[in-house]
C-alpha cells in the first residue's frame, strides 16, 4: 500500500487553475521526484498535500483521507520544506530547530545535535538569528527543521536552491541515509533532474498542471523528450 496517494487532485489560485486531476503515489521508504518547468505546478502539488492551498480531489495518507489543514498534516507526520524556506528570522538557529519538533515529544536535544552533525555550518551558528544567515545556510536550516519533526513523509521543494554544488550532493546523500535508516519517505521537487533521478526510485513529470510522464528513474532517463528538456543530453 502506498503511504501517500493523490487521487485526481486539482488546485487553483483565484481564477487560475494550476493543477488538473493530478494522481500520484509515494510508497513507504520511497524517494519520489517531481520534475517540470517553471510554472508546471510542482510547488502547488506539494502545497496541495500539506493543505496550504485550496484543493479538490483526495489526498490519502496511511489509508486515511487527509483533512485540508496544515496543522493536521504536520501532526499526521508530514513535514514540508516550502519554497522560500519559511525560517523564523527573529529566532535563533536552535530555536528554529526546536520549533520543528513542536508536534512531537522526546529526544529533541539529541535530534538537534543530529542536525548539527549533518550541517556543521549550523552548529557554528546555533545561537545566531536565522535572519542573519546566508541564503544557503537558511536552506540548511529549513531542511534541519523538517528533520526535527522526524516525519514519515518529507515534502521538499527544491532543496538545492541556493546551495553550492558540494552541499547539494551532501544533502541528497543525507536524504538517502535518512530514508534507509529511518524508513522515511520523500517527495521532492527538484530542478537538478539528473541528481533527483540518481536518488529517486520513480518520478513524475508535470506540464501545465498535468502529469504527462510517470515511471521509474531508468524509464525517465530513457525517455527522449525528458532527456532533452530536463536532463540536457
Amino acid at each position: 500500500m502506498s503511504l501517500l496517494e493523490l487521487q485526481g487532485v486539482g488546485a487553483r489560485y483565484g481564477p487560475v487553475k494550476v493543477l488538473h486531476e493530478v494522481s500520484l503515489a509515494v510508497g513507504e521508504g520511497e524517494l519520489v521526484a517531481v520534475l517540470g518547468a517553471n510554472g508546471a505546478g510542482k510547488t502547488t502539488t506539494l502545497r496541495a498535500v500539506s493543505g496550504t492551498v485550496r484543493r479538490s480531489g483526495d489526498v490519502i495518507f496511511e489509508g486515511q483521507k487527509l483533512p485540508r489543514r496544515p496543522e493536521a498534516t504536520a501532526r499526521a507526520g508530514i513535514a514540508h520544506v516550502p519554497e522560500g524556506r519559511g525560517t523564523f528570522n527573529e529566532l535563533s538557529v536552535l530555536e528554529n530547530l526546536r520549533l520543528g519538533a513542536y508536534v512531537r515529544r522526546g529526544k529533541v536535544k539529541a535530534d538537534a545535535e543530529r542536525v548539527f552533525d549533518f550541517f556543521p555550518r549550523l552548529d557554528e551558528r546555533r545561537n545566531q538569528q536565522a535572519g542573519t544567515l546566508s541564503g544557503g545556510e537558511q536552506q540548511m536550516l529549513a531542511l534541519g527543521r523538517a528533520m526535527m519533526a522526524r516525519p514519515k513523509l518529507l515534502l521538499l521543494d527544491e532543496p538545492s536552491l541556493g546551495l553550492a554544488p558540494l552541499i547539494v550532493k551532501g544533502i541528497f546523500d543525507s536524504l538517502e541515509r535518512m530514508k534507509q535508516k529511518e524508513g522515511m519517505s520523500i517527495l521532492v521537487v527538484e530542478q537538478n533532474a539528473n541528481l533527483a533521478l540518481a536518488h529517486a526510485a520513480r518520478a513524475y513529470v508535470l506540464e501545465v498542471g498535468r502529469v504527462v510522464v510517470a515511471g521509474t528513474s531508468d524509464e525517465l532517463r530513457a525517455n527522449e523528450s525528458v532527456r532533452k528538456s530536463y536532463l540536457g543530453y
Binding site: 518547468a37 522560500g84 546566508s134 554544488p165 558540494l166 547539494v168 530542478q191 528538456s229 540536457g232
Partner: protein
Amino acid sequence: MRPLPLLEVDNVSKRFGGIVALDAVSLSVEAGEIVGLIGPNGAGKTTAFNVITRLYTPDEGDVRFDGASLLGTQASAIVRRGIARTFQNVELFHGLSVIDNVRVGAHARQGEHSVDDVLFYVNLHSVRHRGASELPYGTQKRVELARALASGPRLLLLDEPAGGLSHDEVERLGTFIRRMCGDFELTILIVEHHMGLVMGVADRVHVLDFGRKIGEGTPAEVQANQAVIEAYLGAPT
C-alpha cells in the same frame, strides 16, 4: 593603457560581530563584461552585492563605480547612479501587479526603454496585470529582472537568476543574458551556483570562500583551479 574598470571593489572588509563576511576582497568588472561570482554558502557573495548596492557600509576599503567612490551614495540613490540588482530570495512588492513592480524600477529611469518594452523583452507582457506573488518562482525572478532593467542600469547584479528553472530553461536563460547584455548595453555581475550557466555566460569568474578571494580567471582556468575544486566544485564526476 587598460580602460578604467566600471566597477572596482577595492580591498573591502565587512564584519558582523565576530564574523568576517568579507576579508580584504578586491575585484573589478570592465564595462561590457559578464563576470561570475561563485563560492560556497556563506562565502560572502550576497554580502558583496549588498556592499556594492550600499545596503551595507564596508568596515574597510572602497567601492568605485566609473572611477568615483560609491561610499558617499545612499542605498536609495544607487539606482540613479546606474546600478540595479535582483535578489537571491526574490524581493518583490507582493501586493502589486507585475507591471506595477516594473514601474517601481522605472521611477528612476535613465534609459530609453519603456516599461512596456521591458515587459515584452522579458516575455512578461501577457501576465503584466497578475499579482506578482501568484506567479511561479522562476517567473517572479523574471519580474525582478524586469524591474531592474526598467531603471536603465549600466551595471546589473544578478543574484542566482537560475533558481527555480529546469535544465532547458537555464540554457535559454544563458542565451538570454548574453543577448540582454548587448541589447541593453549592460555590464553584469552574476552570483550563481548553476555552474553550467556561469561557465557558459561569464567572461571571467571570481571565487570567494570564507570571505576571501581564492581564485580568479576565465571559466576554464577557474574550473581547473585546485583550491576552487576543493572548496566548491568538488571532483568532477
